[in-house]
Amino acid sequence: MNWSKVHLIMIREARDQLRDRRTLFMIAVLPLLLYPLIGMTFLQVAQFMKEHPTRIWVIGSGGLPEDPPLLEEKAFARALFDDPDQARLMELTIEPGSIARQALVTQAAQEAVSAGDFDAVVYFPPDFGPRLQELRARIEAGGRPHGEPAELAKTIEALPQPIVYYNTAKDKSRIARARVADMLHRWREGVVAQTLVNRSLPVEAAQPFKVAATDVAQDSGRRAAVWAKVLPFVLMVWALTGAFYPAIDLCAGEKERGTLETLLSSPAERNEIVWGKLLTVMFFSIVTAVLNLVSMGLTGGFILAHIQGSTTGGGILQIGPPPLLCIFWLLLALLPVAALFSALSLALAAMARSTKEGQYYLVPLLLCSTPLMVLPVLPAAELDLGTSLIPVSGVMLLLRRLIEGEHLEALKYALPVVAVTAGCCLLAIRWAVEQFNNEHVLFRESERFELGRWLLHLVRDRSETPSAAEAVLCGVLLLLIRFFASFLLPLPSGWNAFAVTTVIVQLAMIATPALMMALILTRSPGRTLLLQMPAPAALPAAVLLAVMLHPLATVLREAVQILYPLSPQTLSQLAPIQQAIEQAPGLLSLILVLALVPAFCEELAFRGFILSGLRHMGSKWGAIILSSVLFGVTHGLLQQSLTAFAMGVVIGYVVVQTGSLLPAILFHMVHNGLGILASRMTVETVRATPATQWLLRQSGDHYVYDWPVLLVCGILAALLLQWFRQLPYQATLEEKLHDALAHQSARAAAR
């Protein structure tokens, strides 16, 4: 790739955007105007956002104790309020006489609240006041029947209860209920306090201690906590919005204006064009996000100062500006996120024939990315292995940790977050380049879509092996089936149930969909599933490679578990499966269910249909890695997925080099088989077989490989992989073309 051409294209595109009034308005004018306008509106509306009084109907207040009083002159007693002015917020209509039949009161209250005559109704039953008085009198007179506290408790229990009627469907009614409940609560405390006083007991007897809370957060920490939640969200939303509009103009807009073909016929390569446009879109995404942030910060600062100034008179901004380090982390995180959103927007916009069509694609993009941006803002969201692997969310959570100053914790998850973000960015950029290389996307003509014709076309015009899109569809289908099956399948109650479930899942939910798709969507299922003999030496080589890699796989699995341990909940969920496996009648049945069946079924799907299809992307390693990601994800448990991904890459490489599925099945079978054997290693079995004693050493309650074994196996595995590397692999047409183009670019760059 020639970066001077990328630079030229970027400068031209950026200048073109800056000459466009719409873009200028979106990125510069809108943020600078929007927030002051929102601020002005907020201040205007705030004048009217005062607390409104609620109307309350009090029934049966006649017999209530006067000491302390609940009501005073058609209002709640002033002593019940911290701020006596608050009394005006409750307009009371008092009915001293009570009604004995509660059903009548309920009906009347329901009607009054529904009709809006009152927001809440408080009902004191007729004997509530007298009975309360009687109880107090007994207590005050030292009337607690000696040795009979149970009787007093019964008396209190039998005391009729006041009732507050309200309507949850009405906001005002809910507010009225909260206010009334607060009044009754305060009055009850008053009654208790007065009773104690009358009995010559200190008031503190009812509240022997109070809880004092002291905030130990430093000022900067408090500020960081506030900003850590708000800023990443605002930044992400505007990074996406700022990327989308220029992307549409640079792709769909160019198609519409007829200049795309001019650019395509220029000496710039497609990837240079994409990078040039991508950097432009990224620039606008970053500028939009930063300008919005600055404008929002300034306006928000002034408004906060105004509000706090008018309430406390100090005019000091209590929240204060975000710490400097926080801004540094934000800008650092903005780069990959803007790159990701820009590449996604560009790839989507490339599909659109017109700017109008392009704008339709904004909604699905927003729908997919909003949950990722909202998830980290939720109070329960924490940075852990699971969340760190979610694109965008992981970055935001990591960012929060960094802003909060928890650098060590952040560092622990930095690797998965960076890996996932970089992976997503690369995939998105790759997708955008693919879109620009795809004639069907660039020169798409409007054609009426009909499901029937499309299905017919899939079968009628099928090729020898599946397309990359069909391979991805197969992977997604397997994931969906697995997702729904996990809810429907019961937890195994014993070995037999476990064995039956595992075999059914493997055969019906992994192998069958892949086989069906190969039969329906390809002209040569045999070639698709690579059902052919490899070079004879490849089979023993695959077995040997699986054996040599087993120690390394064990170390990898242990490392993953140490770094990201399984949670107690996950362990308890896995316990029935572990028990079922322990109940297995013998080694043979274990190997059949956990090694043989998965080796056949998973290889048919992942290295058969999916890898064959993905190789039409034109990149051998891209296909291997993507198929391994899908293979890893179907393993469900994240910790397992990571090791499955690594094994998937090795098996994928073996398949591509040998052009056959058989070595893959053998490798998979031996790998799983060794895992089963290793899990059954006990002190007795190791003692009984002397050969294992110099291979393994005890570590805690289980055995691990000795490090010389690891070293030797690692070297032998590398030699075996080297042997696979020299096999003459069958490149697909796309891979050959890709290589030829890369060769040409390399020569051009060398010149």
Binding site: L8, D16, T259, P267, E450, H457, R460, L741, Q744
Partner: protein, 250 residues
């Protein structure tokens, strides 16, 4: 200079299945020659020229330009050609000079050479007055001039004009034809597609008559007249198409 052998292009189409836009087209165009592709709309002219300019990839066959393969060496091919088509518009928010300069830089021309080339082209195409005019403010004729200047800036040995006179008034079309003639005099190899008989007659040294992805006849104008015993090109064109339709129907 241009060698096209059995070039095919097929598209997947929901309604028609595999649609053949180009069915094994073969021709050669030489330097100092205007090679005309004459055919009605949908004949496959644009598809063929888009493949030659590496915008589309062929489904089969080969095409080489100055020895470079369009499929495997697209970047080298693009350095050899200047492509002007009804679909290659000029940028609205760029001036004539900026646009030509931009493409010159993309071709990697050294700055002094680029300025010389621009000066020469602007003078030859009488574009000096519109140097600083934005694309959005230009007339159709002006835009076409900028497109030609953009295609000529790197002095390519091969020029491809695809329906370049569509939408132009008689005066501008005549001026474009004159430019093409001048380029031929300079020894350029030119492929010129059109559906206008008069234009083909006046301009082209060799003509390929295309219909539904096939070349029905190919040769110099006199060879075509002699072979088919018809003096009038339009009549000859109709007869060839009619015969092809009858053969297809049979």
């Amino acid at each position: 200079m241009i060698h096209v052998r059995e070039l095919t292009k097929t598209y997947a189409d929901l309604r028609r299945g595999q649609f053949v836009a180009l069915a094994g087209v073969t021709f050669d165009a030489l330097p100092g020659q205007v090679y005309g592709l004459l055919g009605p709309n949908g004949a496959g002219k644009t598809t063929a020229l888009r493949i030659l300019s590496t915008i589309l990839r062929p489904s089969g066959g080969t095409a080489t330009i100055n020895g470079h393969n369009v499929l495997t060496q697209p970047s080298l091919v693009r350095h050899q050609i200047g492509f002007v088509s009804a679909n290659t518009a000029v940028y609205d928010r760029m001036t004539a000079a900026e646009m030509v300069e931009y493409f010159g830089r993309l071709y990697g021309l050294p700055e002094s050479l680029l300025q010389d080339r621009m000066h020469m082209i602007f003078q030859r195409l009488q574009m000096e007055e519109m140097r600083d005019l934005l694309g959005a403010k230009m007339s159709t004729g002006m835009k076409q001039k900028v497109s030609i200047a953009r295609a000529l800036v790197h002095d390519p040995p091969v020029l491809i004009f695809d329906e370049a006179t569509v939408g132009l008034d008689v005066l501008v079309a005549r001026s474009l034809q004159q430019t093409v003639s001048d380029l031929r005099e300079q020894g350029k190899c030119i492929v010129f597609s059109t559906h206008i008989m008069r234009e083909a007659e006046r301009l082209c040294d060799r003509i390929a008559i295309m219909h539904r992805g096939h070349i029905l006849a190919e040769g110099t104008l006199s060879q075509l007249r002699e072979k088919h015993g018809e003096e009038d090109l339009e009549e000859l064109f109709f007869q060839l198409i009619l015969r092809h339709e009858q053969q297809q129907a049979a």
